[in-house]
């Protein structure tokens, strides 16, 4: 993956496939350039065996191909910078879900840029408009935030997947990055 925003798109899409109703995507960069990326969902979760194997590229639950590269690629991107990947997941009927946390030293020469995270968020929402997304990107200088639950209260019955709505979301997020 050329950008971390593509890893975000890839991992968060798995959350929606897992039946999540809320996906929280958080980017926090501290004053030393250390980035913590967290993707948390309330999807069906994974059993212990799956969690243990999930960052093995030759382990996958899918049937269309024999490799599962999403989390291994994210782990590679994190560890290349001296960071790490941790995965917590439970199938507990009351609090099921998965939390993927990756850390990156963004000052490291091998750190991939975050890239076009706005496009990733727009595509996630457009692809699964029935799911809610809470996106935050914090640095010491600014905070970017979008919560689709708040947008739904304005939109009434209009879908988040309507082109005009997605373009508004794109402009709304871009504006926060520019300010």
């Amino acid at each position: 993956m050329k950008e971390l925003s593509l890893n975000i798109l890839d991992v968060a899409k798995n959350s929606t496939v897992a039946g999540a109703t809320l996906v929280e995507i958080s980017l926090v960069t501290d004053e030393n350039g250390f980035l913590t990326m967290t993707i948390r969902d309330d999807g069906c979760g994974m059993d212990e065996e799956t969690v243990k194997n999930v960052s093995d590229p030759f382990y996958t639950t899918r049937k269309t191909r024999k490799v599962g590269l999403g989390l291994p690629l994210l782990r590679l991107a994190a560890e290349s910078t001296g960071g790490s990947l941790t995965i917590k997941s439970t199938k507990d009927p009351v609090c099921h879900g998965t939390e993927v946390t990756a850390t990156f030293d963004m000052t490291h020469i091998d750190a991939a840029p975050v890239g076009d995270v706005v496009s990733s968020i727009v595509i996630l929402i457009g692809g699964d408009p029935q799911c809610d997304f809470l996106f935050t990107d914090k640095t010491p200088e600014r905070e970017v935030r979008l919560d689709t639950r708040e947008l739904r209260t304005v939109l009434g019955g209009v879908s988040l997947a309507e082109f005009e709505v997605l373009e508004w979301i794109r402009a709304y997020l871009s504006q926060q990055y520019e300010n």
Partner: protein, 122 residues
């Protein structure tokens, strides 16, 4: 300055359109957005189809959707076009530039861009 008031205006405009759109015939453009597709460049391709369909005024006739891996990772980004009464068309190694041509020639003009299909790339 983009505000929630702009979103409310979009809601008011869209409410009527949603009612008109219900039940209308649909062509489906499906973009593969699994790890293989994303790594190969499917994100700008999906953006190009969404924007192109809007610009051509085809939103009432064509929906642009996403799918997972269909098992031909070496051909990603893969885009499938489903039209009523016609065979599915599978475009491979699609770029935003190719998307533009597919929209103009296939989705608007009705002519499959044969050179971009999987049959021409095997």
């Amino acid at each position: 300055m983009i505000s929630l008031a702009d979103l409310a205006a979009i809601r008011d405009k869209m409410k009527d359109k949603v009612v008109i759109r219900e039940g209308s015939a649909q062509t489906r453009v499906v973009v593969g957005m699994a790890t293989c597709g994303i790594a190969a460049g499917a994100r700008p391709v999906l953006n190009a189809f969404s924007a192109g369909v809007q610009q051509e005024g085809l939103v009432d006739k064509i929906t642009v959707t996403q799918t997972g891996c269909i098992g031909i990772c070496q051909y990603e980004p893969v885009v499938e076009v489903f039209e009523d009464g016609k065979d599915k068309v599978t475009y491979v190694k699609v770029t935003p530039e190719k998307a533009e041509r597919i929209i103009k020639e296939h989705l608007v003009g009705g002519n499959v861009v044969t050179e971009y299909t999987i049959g021409a790339n095997q």
